[in-house]
């Protein structure tokens, strides 16, 4: 039976480069698939692009390719990536420059665009596309003037087109994570664009491997103590067969483990209704998925179904949503908790004195309830507790308001209850972006694929 061997190179912007380097040296793969984009990433990238027109892509793609490209070229491994982010053309230019520098002439670099609809939003609104928020039902008009970026989660068509034109490296914008894998599957296995069963099965497989080490022992809660050598974790290497079934393994001589347990945990990660896993290419049904251990570090994936692709595509818009001001401070024995609460009162009073404005605040006691906050429990009044760290954060309308949080906490060092420490140095003020999920009819989106041959 025909098959294709896919390697997971990166799972997010900032992910470790070493698993991919180990993989291209030691594993038998034809494609290295790399996801660089999370929900917030597109907002960050569009902000970078607005400041400097040749930025707006995830810059880790360059050191990444520097590490893997010579070996990929030698072994004929193709690279599929969504590092293009908000600016696939600028990204591709840098990649082409790198190919030249490495002397890899003749390589074909493709860009896949068409996901960025920021310039079309008002025209589409005028044409009756509502872009209502799919989570809340709110109308876009509520935040339209704050929107900085609008990208459609696009499918694998552009990647398939690029591969058909012989591309060695494919740089995409906001394609779905699954498309990075489904593209090479469709190209190699000859699946039609409306072969829903195969595409659904392939998408289920893609979901199992798109988060890299999370399928091969990373974060494994079912037995993290049994995972060896996690600091040299191997990423998934997956053989996908023509019938949509697959065998998931990992790079030889690496840490971690591939078991039914590790793959099961990844399967339920960031999934809503498992019978209707919506993507741009297909609706995948993983609700009846079967996973079998077929060898050491080898799990066979089967019984995933597919249904026709949805009539609409998901759009994520990013909008400016204020700033966050943050500080933290520590008190020690004796009476650490009492002092911490007094320190917090000191901070609140000082903020009131400077007419502080915020839309939400949060207090966490680190070491006690930093993950759960006051919704769950107050710190105990234990006079013997060794130390307690207070974290205070606030959502503020402006940068100036957000800065007040740290400024007004600094006097805790000299003027507050006895023995404050650990306030640290002034943190940078973080701008907040809200995500506005909405829909667009798929026929309004046209994907463009461009292939460039690297010349000296």
């Amino acid at each position: 039976m025909k098959s294709v061997k896919l390697g997971t190179g990166l799972a997010f912007w900032g992910d470790s480069l070493r698993p991919a380097i180990d993989m291209v040296e030691r594993a038998d793969i034809q494609y290295l698939c790399c996801d660089h984009l999370a929900e917030l990433t597109m907002s960050i990238l569009s902000k970078q692009k607005s400041r400097k027109p040749d930025l707006g892509y995830t810059t880790d793609i360059i050191p990444f390719l520097r590490g893997v490209l010579p070996k990929c070229h030698e072994r004929g491994i193709k690279i599929i990536s969504n590092a293009g982010g908000s600016n696939p053309e600028a990204c591709a230019e840098k990649v082409i420059e790198l190919c030249r520098e490495l002397g890899l002439h003749g390589m074909k670099v493709a860009t896949v665009t068409g996901d960025d609809i920021m310039d079309r939003v008002d025209g589409l609104l005028a044409d009756g596309i509502e872009f209502a928020n799919t989570d809340t039902g709110q109308q876009l008009a509520d935040i339209r003037d704050k929107v900085t970026q609008a990208n459609v989660y696009t499918g694998c068509d552009g990647i398939v087109e690029a591969l058909e034109q012989g591309a060695d490296i494919v740089i995409c914008g906001r394609v779905t994570d699954a498309a990075l894998y489904l593209g090479p599957m469709r190209h190699e296995l000859g699946w039609a664009a409306d072969d829903w069963q195969s595409l659904g099965a392939g998408t289920g497989v893609a979901h199992c491997i798109e988060c890299g080490g999370q399928a091969s022992g990373g974060l494994y809660s079912g037995g993290w103590q049994d995972m060896n050598n996690l600091s040299s974790l191997g990423y998934p290497v997956t053989e996908v067969f023509e019938n949509g079934e697959a065998t998931l393994s990992k790079t030889p001589q690496t840490g971690g483990s591939v078991t039914v347990g590790t793959v099961s945990e990844q399967l339920v990660y960031e999934v809503l209704d498992p019978a209707n896993y919506l993507t741009a290419d297909v609706v995948s049904d993983v609700s009846q998925i079967k996973l079998d251990q077929v060898g050491p570090d080898q799990v066979h994936i089967h019984n995933v179904k597919g249904k026709p692709a949805p009539a609409t595509l998901k759009v994520n818009m990013g909008y400016r949503a204020g700033f966050v001001g943050e500080t933290q401070f520590t008190y020690t024995w004796p009476d650490a908790i009492k002092k911490a609460k007094a320190g917090l009162q000191f901070l609140n009073e000082r903020l009131e004195q400077v007419n502080f404005k915020s839309s939400a605040t949060r207090v966490e006691y680190v070491g006690h309830n930093s993950m759960w906050g006051p919704e769950v429990s107050d710190p105990p009044e234990d006079p013997d507790i060794e130390e307690i760290v207070v974290r205070f954060a606030a959502r503020c309308p402006t940068k100036e308001e957000a800065q007040k949080v740290f400024t007004e906490s600094v006097p805790l060092y000299n003027n507050g209850p006895a023995g404050a420490s650990g306030i640290g140095t002034r943190p940078p003020i973080k701008e907040l972006y809200g995500i506005w999920p909405c829909l667009i009819p798929r026929e309004l989106i046209t994907i463009k694929t461009t292939v460039t041959r690297v010349t000296p």
Binding site: S221, G222, L267, K290, R391, A394, L432
Partner: protein, 104 residues
Amino acid sequence: MTVRVWDLAHGRSGDKGDICNIGLIARSDEAYERLCRQVTSQRLRDHFGALIKGDVDRYELPNIKALNFVCKGALDGGGTLSLRSDHLGKVMYTWLLRMELDDE
């Protein structure tokens, strides 16, 4: 003897906007059946209290003995806006693992 969800299952959680999904994977067929009986959407909602503001839906993946809980309004506005240290809901599942089950 107190039986917690953790005695019967392991898990993972993550974010999608202001939705946190929590997956539980049972350690045996019997454990899966008991979790199906006892860990209902309402039971989970009550256990999390104010941490989850919206509805909770439960889905079953019987062949891998997994339950998936989709919790709306569970991340203080979503990963990009949340003031929580756990703004992506990475450890939300551990709060569920601590839940005590009824005797059977």
